[in-house]
């Protein structure tokens, strides 16, 4: 088996893995019945899924053309930004009470998201969006 053939199979397998993970992540998004739980599925499974697809792309470039590395950049980008996105969505869930209330922190007064400014406390609870 030549390196091309192996590469081709590798591409195919990476594609299947990536696509499967992407799909599984989204299934989780649809299936879970709680906002925080749903957050787990796509932010990670999706990341790995795209990672595999990008890997497939890199291998494909190495097999069929003169190579490519810049997919690494996209991968790095997604890996670095995913936690922030998840963190913000979690904060939204906590702020909008669309999940169970978290236990109080052991060291400080409260969670930063719940630390609503004094001026806003008398305002009505947010409407559900």
């Amino acid at each position: 088996m030549s390196i091309e053939v192996i590469g081709t199979y590798a591409v195919a397998i990476c594609l299947l893995i990536g696509a499967a993970f992407a799909l599984i992540g989204t299934i989780g998004l649809l299936k879970f019945n709680d906002s925080m739980t749903r957050l787990h599925a796509p932010t990670k499974v999706g990341t790995i899924g795209i990672g595999a697809l990008l890997l497939a792309s890199m291998i494909h470039a190495h097999v069929f053309a003169d190579g490519s590395m810049h997919e690494l950049l996209i991968m790095a980008f997604l890996f670095v930004t995913a936690p922030i996105s998840a963190n913000f969505i979690a904060k939204v869930n906590i702020h909008r009470r669309s999940c169970d209330a978290p236990p109080p922190p052991p060291k400080d007064d409260t969670w930063s998201t719940l630390n609503v400014p004094e001026a806003d406390r008398e305002l009505a609870e947010p409407e559900k969006v």
């Binding site: 091309e4 199979y9 397998i13 696509a19 499967a20 980008f77 930004t81 969505i89 559900k128």
Partner: protein
């Protein structure tokens, strides 16, 4: 080689369908919500899946010119997710 290529082509098609299906499912979550966090999450997922779609397109066409698009979508998807979330959290997104 042809067997491998055929296999790869089938894999590409399957991957396309899987990612497209993932998009549709995310869209469902986006529409049904119920919480705004779910919707933002669904949007974020769709952006990530969109990157997958374009990567697949690049592989299928053997073209590298879609790289910048992918990179930009990765960057901007993040920015818009943060912007939506900040809007919910603070109202003003660049206070």
């Amino acid at each position: 080689m042809t067997v491998a290529t055929d296999f790869m082509n089938i894999a590409i098609i399957l991957a396309f369908i899987a990612v497209a299906l993932a998009q549709v499912l995310s869209m469902v979550r986006l529409v049904i919500g119920p919480s705004v966090g779910d919707r933002i999450l669904a949007l974020d997922t769709m952006v990530v899946n969109a990157i997958g779609l374009i990567v697949l397109l690049g592989i299928a066409q053997g073209s590298r010119i879609y790289f910048e698009v992918t990179l930009i979508i990765a960057m901007l998807g993040f920015v818009s997710t943060v912007a939506y979330a900040r809007f919910i959290l603070r109202g003003d997104i660049i206070e």
